[in-house]
Amino acid sequence: MTCLRSSRVLQAATLLVFLTTAANAGAQTCRGTPRGGGLAFVRGQSFVGSTNGVAAAVAGGRFAIDGDYRSLTADAEGVSGFDASVRFSLLLGGNNLLVCPSLGFVYNSEDWEFGDGGSLTTRTGSARAGLGLGYQREVYKGLSLIPFISADYDFTAIVFTLDPAEEGDEELSGDTLSRVNVQYGILAQYKFFYAGISADRYSDTKGDRPLLARWMVGITFGGSRSSQRRASVAAPIEGPGTVRSPGGR
């Protein structure tokens, strides 16, 4: 057990070193973090409950990768789960405006315990392809604002796994959904620190309110003032959740 835990710590440390090293190679990242990528604490909120986790993004040349992991703290009793995502982006554009075609995958798992010993696990996977826009503007010395918006086509597959209290005949099913996810938000970056908010809504979302909102606080991997002046930028971290999710979720 101890050995296993040490191994995981080592893997995490190796990944962190890799991310930091890659980011320092003059990278710039789209969708979610300021130029140069970053590492952030992310808190999300949806109808199901709140999520807490981390998000990271790095880039090299014209390519970027970002991802996140968030654990669900549900408002309803007996509900737990998590979200994870990964996305690859191509970085186009120059000075302040960045355009990012992307491909990604979002995974959500949610357990619902009925209280009689039975439970239902809902696993949701979404393949995602779309376009993001990010604009960075230095509004004061070292302080930049970064509004962003993205639209992604989502193909979502849902699989249910039932663990009933009493054995019986289960007619389990999957389901598929196709929709567009729109994510928008704004980041404020001051030197190596940034904070921001983003929200997600699907094409079938009605009303003003989004299905998911996220707040993030983090550090950039390449956020010095001089590098910012050379820079362009960026956009939000991650996808739905709930599906976030499905999602979102």
Binding site: E167, G168, E170, R209, A213, T242, S245
Partner: protein
């Protein structure tokens, strides 16, 4: 020399904070998903009370089955709310149906389970339940739900459920 810089910095901070408040006020809804405490949702357990207008208990299922219906219920949990949180347009989420049958001699059969999704239109009081390849289009009135159901084995019937 430092004074103009301080005034400038203080002015900027004041302006930025004001801007944040303004943006927050203007965009509150756009960054605020509905949270728990939904009014008018379907969350909970719904028990089958009648089939084709007859009591559900021991109801003989239509030909070709010779089974008797003993009990059944649908568990529903909302996962997404669309529209106004106090008066939503639509809610979606997960539904799990359980029903218990007995054979013609009265011997209980293993329970049957269906897992799927629901989509509830609050404006028209219609609900769509999709599970295991089946789609049920029903209506909701207060604590009563009516589901016209069609099953390959049990034929077509109308199920009325009451919120438990």
């Amino acid at each position: 020399m430092a004074r103009p810089g301080m005034i400038k910095s203080a002015s900027f901070i004041g302006l930025f904070v004001t801007l944040l408040f303004a943006v927050n006020a203007a965009c509150f809804d756009a960054f605020a998903p509905c949270s728990s405490g939904l009014a008018g949702g379907l969350d909970g357990s719904w028990d089958a009370t009648t089939i084709d207008g007859q009591p559900a208990l021991n109801f003989p299922l239509p030909f070709p089955s010779s089974d008797l219906f003993r009990s059944g219920f649908i568990r529903i949990r909302t996962q997404q709310v669309h529209g106004d949180c106090d008066d939503p347009d639509r809610t979606t989420g997960t539904a799990v149906a359980t029903y218990n049958l007995a054979d013609a001699g009265g011997t209980a059969k293993p329970p049957k389970y269906f897992s799927g999704r629901f989509d509830y239109d609050h404006n028209n009081n219609t609900v769509k339940i999709t599970a295991a390849g089946y789609q049920l289009d029903g209506t909701v009135s207060g604590n009563s739900m009516t589901l016209p159901a069609s099953h390959a084995l049990f034929g077509t019937y109308t199920l009325v459920l009451q919120r438990n």
